[in-house]
C-alpha cells in the first residue's frame, strides 16, 4: 500500500490504526502529522454523526442517554465501518442505521423501532415529489409515500407530541402497533394508528388486491384522510 490516499482512506474507514497510518505515511510519529490525522478523524466522526442525527434525532438522543456520549461515538464509528456510505443521497441519509441497530445487539428493542419509525418519518417528509400523486383516477390509488409499518412499542403518541424537540426521557409503552404514514397533498405528514384488522386489510390493499365490502369503512376513512391520489 504506497498510495497515500489509500493509506489515509484505510484509516478513515476504520481499517487501520492511527499509528499504523502515520508510520505508513511518514515513517515516524511526527506530532504535527498526528494532530493533522486527528483533525481528519474528528471531521469524519462529526460528519458521520451529522448524517445520522438529521433523520434520527430522537433515536440518537435515546442512544446517548443509554450509552453515554462516548458510547454513542463508538456506535456511530462502528456503524460507519459496518455500513460505509456508498451513495450520497440527501433524501435517504444513513438509511441503513435501523438495520445496523437491529444487528448491534444489547439495545432495547424499542430503540430499534424508534429508528425505524424516524426513518419512515424522514422518508415521507422528504421523498421526491411524484406528480402522479396529484392526479385523481377512477380506481383509487394510494399516494406514493403511503406505507404501513408495525412496531413493538407505542411510538406515535410518545414521539409525535413534540416533533420539533426530541425527548430522551423515559421509554414508550410496549405494545404491538400498526402505523400508516403518507404525505398529504398539503405536503404535511399524516400518521394514523390502525388496529390489527385494518392493518391486515391495508396489507392486502398494498399488495394490489381489490378489497370487498368488508373494507368499505376503512377505504372511506383513508379517503377522508387524503391517502388516495388526487385527494
Amino acid at each position: 500500500m504506497s498510495d497515500p490516499r489509500e493509506i489515509l482512506a484505510s484509516f478513515l474507514l476504520g481499517r487501520q490504526s492511527r499509528l499504523d497510518c502515520i508510520q505508513a505515511l511518514f515513517g515516524d510519529a511526527d506530532p504535527q502529522e498526528m494532530e493533522g490525522l486527528s483533525v481528519y478523524a474528528a471531521h469524519a466522526l462529526r460528519n458521520q454523526k451529522d448524517a445520522v442525527a438529521a433523520p434520527y434525532p430522537r433515536a440518537l438522543a435515546a442512544l446517548t442517554a443509554h450509552l453515554g456520549p462516548e458510547g454513542l461515538d463508538a456506535l456511530v464509528a462502528r456503524y460507519s465501518r459496518a455500513y460505509p456510505c456508498r451513495l450520497l443521497n440527501p433524501a435517504r441519509p444513513a438509511e441503513t442505521f435501523p438495520i445496523f441497530l437491529a444487528e448491534y445487539g444489547g439495545l432495547p428493542a424499542w430503540m430499534v423501532d424508534l429508528a425505524r419509525f424516524e426513518k419512515r418519518l424522514w422518508d415521507v417528509e422528504n421523498a421526491p415529489d411524484d406528480p402522479a400523486d396529484e392526479i385523481a383516477s377512477d380506481t383509487p390509488m394510494l399516494r406514493s409515500t403511503f406505507r404501513l409499518d408495525s412496531y413493538g412499542a407505542s411510538l406515535l403518541d410518545w414521539v409525535v407530541d413534540d416533533p420539533v424537540h426530541p425527548s430522551a426521557e423515559g421509554e414508550p409503552p410496549s405494545r404491538q402497533t400498526w402505523v400508516v404514514s403518507f404525505r398529504g397533498s398539503d405536503l404535511e405528514t399524516r400518521l394514523i394508528e390502525v388496529g390489527p384488522g385494518d392493518a391486515a386489510l391495508i396489507t392486502r390493499l398494498l399488495a394490489g388486491e381489490t378489497l370487498g365490502p368488508e373494507a368499505a369503512e376503512l377505504l372511506l376513512d383513508l379517503r377522508a384522510a387524503g391517502a388516495f391520489r388526487g385527494t
Binding site: P4, R5, E33, A44, R92, E125, A127, D129
Partner: protein, 297 residues
C-alpha cells in the same frame, strides 16, 4: 431555466435561513447551492429552497466529484448535479481539488492530494472526464489540508498553477483556506496570491476558522477574520475587478441579517481595494476600467 451569470456578493444557501431570505429586502446578489444537500429532496422543506433558486442567480458547488480520487464517477450524482445546474441556470459548477471517496465509500471529508506533477496529470484526466460527463465547466477550489504527504515536491501555489494550466479550469479561490494552510504549515498566503493567475479566478469564498488543538481548522464558523479580509483585499486589488464573492457560514449559523452584514462588509472591502488600486501610480493603466467597476458596486 436559461443561464444566469452570478456577480457581486452572495451566500451559501442553507435551509435554516431560506424562509428569512425570501422575506428580506436587503441585498444578496447570488446564491450557491450544495447538491449533496438537495438532490432528490421533495416535500415541504424543498419548497423554500426552490423558491430561492428561482429568485436568485445560483451556482452549484459540489463536494463529491472526488476529482483527485480513483473511483469511477457516480452517474446518478452527475445526473443530479446536471439537473440542479439546469434548474439554477448555473453557467458552471465548482468542486474541490481533493478526493472524498475511496473503494466506493464516501469518507465524509475533502482529503488532500500529494502536490506532485503526477497528481496534476491525474486531476487533469479526471477533470476532463467529469466535465465531459457533466456537460458544464467545473471550476476548482483550493482546499485546506491538515497533512502534507512525502510524495509532494511542489508547494501549494505551484501545484495550483500547474493544475489550472493542465486542466484549463477556472479557480474558485477560497481565501480562508489559504490562511488556514499558512497558519498550520507556514508560508505567506499573500505571496501565494501573487503567484496565482488572478485572471483565472472565477469566484471567491470567504469564511471563518477556529483553533483545534495546535491546528487551525476551516469550520466556517463566526465572522470573517480580519486576516481573511486583508488577503481578500489583496486578491481584488491584484485582479483589478470585482470577483463574485461568497460567504460560507455553516457552524452556529446566525440570523440572516448578520450574514448580510458580512456581505455588506465584503462589498465595502472590495470597493476599498479597487479604490486603493486607483491611487497606486505605477498601476495607473488599470485606472479607467477600475473606476467603472467601483462606480458599479
Amino acid at each position: 431555466m436559461s443561464a444566469r451569470a452570478i456577480s457581486g456578493f452572495g451566500l451559501g444557501l442553507r435551509r435554516v435561513f431560506c424562509e428569512s431570505l425570501l422575506k428580506t429586502s436587503r441585498r444578496v446578489d447570488f446564491l450557491e447551492i450544495i447538491p449533496e444537500n438537495h438532490i432528490g429532496m421533495g416535500g415541504r422543506h424543498s419548497r423554500p429552497v426552490t423558491a430561492c433558486l428561482e429568485r436568485w442567480p445560483t451556482t452549484v458547488h459540489g463536494l463529491s466529484f472526488s476529482l483527485g480520487g480513483t473511483d469511477p464517477f457516480d452517474p446518478a450524482y452527475v445526473q443530479g448535479v446536471r439537473d440542479l445546474a439546469r434548474l439554477c441556470g448555473s453557467e458552471y459548477v465548482s468542486d474541490h481539488l481533493a478526493w472524498s471517496t475511496f473503494g466506493g465509500a464516501h469518507l465524509h471529508d475533502l482529503c488532500p492530494l500529494p502536490f506532485s506533477l503526477e497528481m496534476v496529470e491525474h486531476v487533469a484526466r479526471r477533470h476532463r472526464e467529469a466535465q465531459e460527463r457533466l456537460g458544464l465547466p467545473i471550476a476548482l477550489e483550493n482546499i485546506t489540508y491538515y497533512l502534507r504527504f512525502r510524495q509532494s515536491h511542489l508547494d501549494e501555489a505551484e501545484f495550483l498553477k500547474e493544475v489550472l494550466s493542465a486542466t484549463g479550469a477556472d479557480l474558485l479561490l477560497d481565501v480562508n483556506n489559504l490562511i488556514v494552510n499558512a497558519k498550520n504549515f507556514g508560508g505567506d498566503p499573500a505571496l501565494l496570491i501573487d503567484k496565482l493567475p488572478v485572471e483565472r479566478i472565477r469566484q471567491i469564498h470567504i469564511a471563518g476558522h477556529s483553533p483545534r488543538g495546535s491546528m487551525i481548522v476551516d469550520d466556517h464558523r463566526g465572522p470573517v477574520p480580519e486576516e481573511v479580509w486583508t488577503l481578500y483585499r489583496r486578491v481584488i486589488s491584484r485582479a483589478g475587478r470585482v470577483i463574485p464573492t461568497l460567504l460560507e457560514w455553516d457552524t452556529d449559523v446566525p440570523p440572516l441579517d448578520v450574514l448580510i452584514d458580512e456581505l455588506d462588509r465584503a462589498r465595502a472591502e472590495a470597493k476599498a481595494a479597487l479604490a486603493d488600486k486607483l491611487r497606486e501610480p505605477h498601476r495607473a493603466h488599470y485606472a479607467s476600467s477600475t473606476i467603472t467597476l467601483v462606480e458599479a458596486m
